[in-house]
């Protein structure tokens, strides 16, 4: 029997505030996992630090709760070590786009097959409401001693510039739609981003449920022909400018959906396979390291190039 979303709950007390958008995201994730019927034993969820970072305790999986900003490199290590696992890296906007933006950008250069989910509430939730990297300048959410002086980052554009091959945006309280986005992201072979707009009723008193719901719309609802697939130079020529326009749209209207899919790039695992023929069958985490307690390697054979012999 296929799994139900309930199978992905861990039974731990979910520590989020009442009405927090994280509940919707968690539920959407569980539903996506259920519909994909992913075995929790083969699933990895790595999270950073923040309210959102607690997600890993609430999802039945191989969970790892790492440092603030470092979910992506940990997930990278895991995926490379065992490419047969489904790997998700989750974190807040502060985690992924503030302290972790180094990795957010750099993972795009690998196109490693992991799914990056940003719980984007535009504040630093767990540290009590400082301005997050997606909070517009001059806005002043309630915990701030003054207006925010920093401009907001656009995660979609940043992901595109960084090389992500799947880019989507969802909204936390739209569980059904967000579930679909997460599903597609997980199914996509390559680095995928799902930015999820997440009201934080406790600290973000500006970007509220109401504020979002007056603005959001779905790309494919507005344009039934919307097709984010950019599979060829022709697609690129014909679609890229409208995709960019949609990515940049932010204000009175905020588009949701899948913005961009590029199926043409090799994943990092495929690249590794090309240079390490045994990689797929014997990846670093699932290969012998010894034969009966003895080394596998005779250095005089493997490093023969170092032998000085006339």
């Amino acid at each position: 029997m296929a799994r139900s979303w309930m199978d992905y709950k861990t039974g731990a007390w979910v520590q989020w505030c009442p009405g927090c958008g994280n509940y919707g995201i968690l539920n959407a994730l569980h539903r996506a996992l259920a519909e994909l019927d992913i075995d929790p034993s083969r699933l990895v969820v790595v999270t950073g630090i923040g309210c959102s970072g607690r997600s890993c305790y609430y999802t039945k999986a191989n969970a790892m709760h790492v440092l603030h900003g470092r979910a992506i490199p940990a997930a990278t290590g895991i995926k490379i070590a065992n490419p047969n696992l489904t790997v998700i890296a989750e974190g807040g906007d502060g985690d992924m786009l503030g302290i972790g933006v180094e990795h957010f950008v750099s993972v795009g250069r690998r196109n490693i097959d992991i799914t990056v989910i940003i719980h984007d509430n535009s504040v630093y939730g767990l540290t009590k409401g400082q301005a997050g990297p997606t909070l517009p300048s001059w806005w002043r959410t309630k915990a701030l001693p003054g207006p925010n002086l920093h401009d907001n980052l656009n995660p979609l554009l940043l992901a595109l510039a960084s090389g992500y091959t799947f880019i989507a945006r969802g909204y936390a309280y739209h569980v059904a739609q967000t579930k679909e986005l997460i599903k597609k992201a997980i199914e996509h072979k390559g680095t995928s981003l799902v930015q999820i707009l997440q009201p934080c009723p406790t600290y973000n008193n500006l970007m509220t449920k109401q504020w979002y719901e007056e603005r959001i719309y779905y790309l494919e609802e507005e344009d039934p022909n919307w097709d984010p697939l950019v599979a060829s130079p022709e697609d690129f020529k014909s679609k890229m400018s409208i995709i960019l326009e949609k990515m940049i749209e932010w204000g009175d209207r905020i588009p949701l959906g899948v913005f961009y899919i590029n199926p043409a790039k090799d994943t990092f695992e495929q690249r590794l396979e090309k240079v390490i023929p045994t990689y797929r069958e014997y990846p670093p985490a699932a290969r012998p390291v010894a034969a009966n307690g003895k080394p596998l390697v005779d250095p005089w054979q493997v490093f023969a190039d170092k032998i000085v012999k006339a």
Partner: protein, 646 residues
């Protein structure tokens, strides 16, 4: 000269990127082929091309433990090298230079550091000499050094003529000409030099031919103009014995490969990244016969991952470890500093990961390509929170090989970060190793309490008596690894009772480690245990100090040498006993704060009162150690700072 008395030291100086490295390698290979043992070490600047660097070589029937100045011969073909090294050759030795450089004025040598220029200019001024290379040659001669001027331009033109190669290519044989001259004068027959050239350039026939031609020409020139060597060097005792010629970087990579490493991450940094690049160059390998048979598998491969920075390097290594890979990362001080937070995570989450720390001169970027042993404190106390981890320091190539394997074992057995402390001197020192030196079958691969098939009741952080919880890799059963304080199942908790239990569990783990790793691996007393003078040191000073002991013995000073191998868990009782047994204890370190001495006092309460210190970033010499120790013995001086080497 009898085989057993052979002890040759010489240096090759020149601009960075000018082929010094290659000349040094040819020299080393010559002597290895001839049956001797060698070390060569390279001093170089943080520069790609043009700054002065030099390669010092020592040759003996047994493995030489140290280099020192003055040398028997110097190959100094540019003006800066002449001016840097004219006082580094011993009386009766010789110095090979290029006559065309003689007129060069100090002021016109752009790359030469201003302070050195000033010192040299003053030096010549005092003696009423012009500040030129010529004056340096003159002084060398006055000092009893035979100076051999080669008309390089002519010689190179001749090689071009003979080989038909264009001058621009032939001019690359400059160092070969100088080297061949030197080797020949040191008593090496032309045939050995040619063999070494052939070995060194291997596949590249044209290059071989050109260099062989150059060597021949040089030797002819010597015969004609200078006269050959007084006598030829006999074959060494290890003639025909198979040897690898490896740097410290390489031997660690080899150790890791033998030790079952499956994934290494790195971000480029001197002097660490050569290790990772070497690993990457050998990432696909054939299994040894015994393993191929046992596993019915012929080939395997390891991943070497270049990351965007060191934060990512350590986190990816941690991620891989958690997934079940035998994983490591490798860096130097600045990169290690960036890894602090993740080290703390690995301590808390109990992640097996090896950090190879190639020390160099600090603080900050300091002297990025120079020797330093300044990161002991940082290694031991890296990471916030109570921060215990295993810290092991290797004394030489052979130790580094086995330590690389042990570090991987300990990381997995004890589920904790292991810092493998090595340094720039080891990294760039090259030596021969024989089959018996690095025998894979002497190594054991251990993975500790690895659970291949965890059940649904599996507890990641099970509280056990020895403090070690069974470890399941990811991908078998839902589980939690975390950096937050946690219950046995990895769920976060702030419960004070559990907090105390978990702190106690982690503490017990280190008690287990302290118990299980034998004292013999933690500290080694070399030499006569009853000697009343004890030298204390750690890391790559080991072979140097062992040589110094011999010098001291010849001078009638009997000392032994306590080599600290593992700084945590510290061999408190053993060290205290040894030190208390001595009348005079002298700490020898290449840092300013006396870091090991402080730790010894912190762990044992024993106060060391005498210090030998070197902080110039240059290789430590056996002779200067011996001299410094002698001075302390004779005068009771508290601290002697040594500073040999250009």
């Amino acid at each position: 000269m009898a085989q057993n008395n052979v002890d040759i030291k010489f240096l090759i100086g020149g601009p960075q990127g000018g082929g010094i490295e290659s000349a040094g390698q040819i020299a080393l290979k010559t002597f290895i082929l001839k049956g001797y043992q060698v070390i060569g070490t390279r001093e170089y600047q943080s520069n790609i091309m043009g700054a002065h660097s030099y390669f010092t070589i020592r040759v003996k029937p047994e493995r030489p433990g140290a280099i020192n100045f003055p040398v028997d011969a110097a190959v100094v073909l540019d003006a800066e090298s002449v001016l840097t090294h004219f006082q580094d050759v011993k009386k009766g030795g010789f110095m090979v230079y290029d006559t065309t450089t003689l007129k060069t004025k100090i002021a016109n040598i752009a790359p030469m550091p201003k302070p050195l220029k000033d010192r040299l200019t003053a030096f010549f001024q005092e003696r009423g000499l012009e500040p030129t290379a010529e004056s340096a040659v003159k002084i060398a001669e006055e000092n009893g050094v035979k100076t051999i001027g080669l008309p390089m331009k002519n010689l190179i033109r001749e090689v071009a003529h003979k080989t038909g190669a264009p001058l621009s290519r032939v001019s690359k044989t400059l160092n070969t000409i100088g080297l061949a001259t030197t080797l020949y004068l040191l008593g090496v027959e032309a045939s050995w030099i040619e063999k070494a050239i052939a070995v060194h350039f291997a596949a590249k026939k044209k290059v071989v031919d050109m260099n062989v031609e150059a060597a021949k020409l040089a030797i002819n020139y010597v015969d004609e103009h200078i006269g050959g060597p007084c006598c030829f060097l006999p074959e060494g005792p290890n003639l025909g014995k198979e040897a690898m010629l490896v740097t410290g970087n390489e031997i660690v990579a080899i150790g890791k490969t033998v030790g079952g490493l499956t994934l290494q991450t790195y971000y480029p940094i001197t002097p660490a990244s050569d290790e990772a690049l070497f690993l990457e160059g050998h990432r696909n390998y054939d299994l040894a016969p015994w393993a191929a048979e046992a596993l019915e598998l012929k080939k395997l491969g390891s991943v070497v991952l270049q990351t965007e920075d060191e934060l990512s390097a350590i986190m990816a290594a941690i991620g891989a470890a958690v997934a079940g890979a035998r994983s490591a990362t490798s860096t130097s001080g600045p990169g290690f500093a960036l890894m602090n937070e993740a080290i703390s995570l690995a301590i808390m989450a109990e992640v097996p990961v090896v950090l190879t720390l190639w020390q160099r001169g600090g603080p900050s970027t300091g002297l990025p390509t120079r020797e330093g042993q300044q990161d002991l404190f940082h290694a031991l106390f890296s990471g916030h929170g109570d921060n215990p981890k295993i810290v092991v320091a290797s004394g030489d190539h052979i130790e580094a090989f086995y330590d690389a394997i042990k570090a991987l074992n300990w990381a997995e057995k004890y589920q904790t970060p292991v810092v493998h402390l090595v340094d720039k001197y080891l990294a760039s020192t090259i030596t021969n190793v024989y089959r018996e030196d690095i025998d894979p079958l002497k190594a054991q691969i251990e993975r500790g309490k690895l659970v291949e098939n965890p059940g649904p009741d599996y507890l990641r952080y099970k509280i056990t008596e020895d403090g070690i919880s069974p470890r399941a890799p990811m991908g078998k059963v839902p589980l939690v690894w975390t950096g937050l304080e946690h219950t046995e199942d990895g769920m976060p908790t702030e419960d004070p009772v559990v907090r105390e239990q978990m702190m106690a569990k982690r503490r017990r783990k280190f008690e287990t480690i302290a118990r299980e790793i034998p004292d013999d691996e933690k500290a080694v007393l070399h030499g006569d245990p009853d000697a009343k003078i004890t030298l204390v040191s750690w890391g790559s000073t080991k072979p140097i100090i062992l040589e110094a002991l011999k010098i001291l013995e010849r001078e009638g000073i009997k000392a032994n040498f306590l080599q600290l191998r593992i700084f945590y868990p510290f061999p408190t009782e053993k060290v205290r006993k040894i030190l208390e047994n001595a009348d005079l204890v002298i700490d020898i370190e290449q840092n300013d704060l006396g870091q090991a001495a402080f730790l010894i006092r912190g762990f044992t309460g024993f106060t060391i009162e005498h210090f030998v210190k070197k902080i110039t970033g240059r290789a430590l010499w056996d002779t200067e150690v011996a001299l410094a120790v002698k001075k302390i013995v004779e005068t009771g001086e508290r601290e002697v700072v040594v500073n040999g080497g250009a």
